[in-house]
Symmetry: C2
Subunit: 338 residues, 2 copies
């Protein structure tokens, strides 16, 4: 370090020395990049600036590069706040690696005229598959049965992981958008009875029962599957009253955002047996997971990986790169939000 100038150190994190290409900031390494490597968003048309690989502290790194940054690739773990936006005078584009954009200050982006693109609906199928996988796991105790065998409890020793039948279960889907409707199609094939709640009732060719009131849906459901976006109206939508209406045998699956559930209250309900189980891919303060639940056989976790498949990540990389290349070629964004 001592023999290098700030300039030398700061430029260590750029992926190329070409000066003319648009520079795209990544503050924290997206999981997809940790898995796929830099090829995840490789392009000859822009240059990646990886703050997370720089030996400089983030504020110094940003201070040095701020003028040159014209776009950000934003995983959920690295929020694009008004503060960050303010120190990047030439920022013109934010592309998220998620469908949700709740970690981007859209108000500030709009004020500044910054364009925003998300991951589109490329993840919907994979997320819906995970939601169903978590639901089957909790009801049919797939993970628990696997542990039971590996702990050499078969023939019967200890508590047998007896499951509950999927057929005829009443499933309440919170948010019947791109993901929710795919969850519905899948669970329909298992003979489940599907209901949904959403901002508005869907057109009449949607064959599922609509609840305007989520507490009423919870009271009439064996499981709730959270598939909606996080916004002011859905923040802590699944509160104490909804969990209490879901009841002792009710299961909750969340593949949307942690903060849609009152996590503290859910943890209490699970620990005290006031709800029946949970399949959780997302958490309020990721990657912090409520460790008080680790001992519970009826709670199944995944590390915000509902969207993570090899095929899905490759597709995501194409969408991110496609959006950035389109923007700097003055073409329309592939999956515009703003």
């Amino acid at each position: 370090m001592q023999n290098r100038s700030i300039s030398q150190v700061a430029t260590m994190a750029t992926s190329s020395s070409t000066e003319k290409l648009p520079r795209v900031l990544i503050v924290k390494r997206p999981d997809a990049m940790a898995v796929l490597g830099d090829g995840f968003v490789a392009s000859t048309k822009f240059e990646i600036l990886k703050a997370f690989e720089s030996p400089l502290p983030l504020p110094e790194f940003l201070a040095y590069h701020s003028d040159s940054i014209s776009a950000i690739i934003a995983p959920v773990a690295a929020p694009v706040t008004a503060d960050l936006i303010r120190i990047l005078p030439n920022l013109r584009l934010v592309v998220t690696t998620s469908a949700g954009v709740d970690h981007v200050d859209l108000v500030e982006c709009r004020r500044r005229g910054i364009s925003v693109a998300n991951a589109g609906s490329s993840f919907s199928e994979d997320v819906a598959d995970t939601a169903v996988g978590l639901l089957i796991d909790v009801f049919r105790r797939i993970s628990a049965a696997n542990r039971f065998v590996k702990q050499r409890f078969w023939p019967l020793k200890g508590d047998y992981p007896l499951g509950s039948k999927l057929g005829r279960k009443r499933i309440g889907i919170v948010g019947l958008g791109s993901i929710g409707s795919k969850v519905a199609t899948r669970l329909d094939a298992f003979g489940c009875q599907i209901s949904y709640s959403s901002r508005n009732r869907k057109p009449y060719d949607v064959p599922y029962h609509y609840y305007m009131d989520i507490e009423e849906m919870a009271a009439n459901s064996d499981a709730l599957i959270i598939c909606c976006e996080l916004n002011e109206k859905t923040l802590r939508l699944i509160n104490k009253d909804v969990l209490s209406a879901l009841g002792k045998r009710g299961v909750i699956v969340n593949v949307a955002r942690g903060a849609i559930i009152d996590e503290e209250e859910m943890v209490r309900c699970l620990r005290e047996g006031e709800i029946g189980g949970a399949g959780l891919d997302v958490f309020e303060d990721e990657p912090n997971v409520p460790k008080e639940l680790f001992e519970l056989d009826n709670v199944v976790f995944s590390p915000h990986s509902a969207f993570m498949t090899l095929e899905g990540l490759e597709e995501l990389g194409k969408v991110v790169v496609g959006n950035i290349e389109a923007f700097f070629s003055n073409k329309p964004l592939l999956t515009p939000v703003l």
Copy 2:
């Protein structure tokens, strides 16, 4: 023991002292009874004789009771062999607690004019659900992700349990009967491409591709799901050649019978990475499980519990009791095999 006669000891295992009711032998406790208790097959119309609760060794127990036994409730773990049948001169009915009857010597039953009933198709939905649950678990690494979080590997440490997309996977179903066709309906909803092999091609309204040759199906499938019955033709049907055709990324799911797969060869293929993963509910020598596979993240076990749900076991109890009561009232069996 010293103060009791053989007669006293032997009758300890009967559930009632009424002499006139038909006596129904159970050699080994069915898992369903371990879970639900004696209420599983309670009836006022017959008497249960539980060999597994008697302090007498089985041969002595049978020798003492042989003349009085007119029916057997037969879980898979307690085969009804020609030897057993021979020492029960008044045996007239065998009722299995499974859909499969491969553990019953049907030839000897036919020769002796003994009626046989099975569990019918009451399990099909639950078994199909488990097959799909195991397949999602292996492809999307649900159990592995759960362990990953609980081992505090998130944020990323160790091998990330990256899954593979379910959509467009080519699924080969071995045996498109009651269970196989339900697996097909479910996976169809995930966007999988379904093929099947079976003794005969199904009528033309079955929309799935038919393979006469199972090796050819394996070569053109990302996963095989075994749903057929075990008989002379399906014994070790999934041999070295089929596994080799399935290939390095191919997954095998078995919810049928262990002996349909060459287990030793499958274990070798899994250990050496010659196939991609497995979801196994059944094994050649249950409850012995190939423990060499316990370390593998891509193998998920369940303890022959694909059919085990609270609702399914209650239904099973009704079918078993219904068959026995019908038989001794000279009515037709509910789910006759012979």
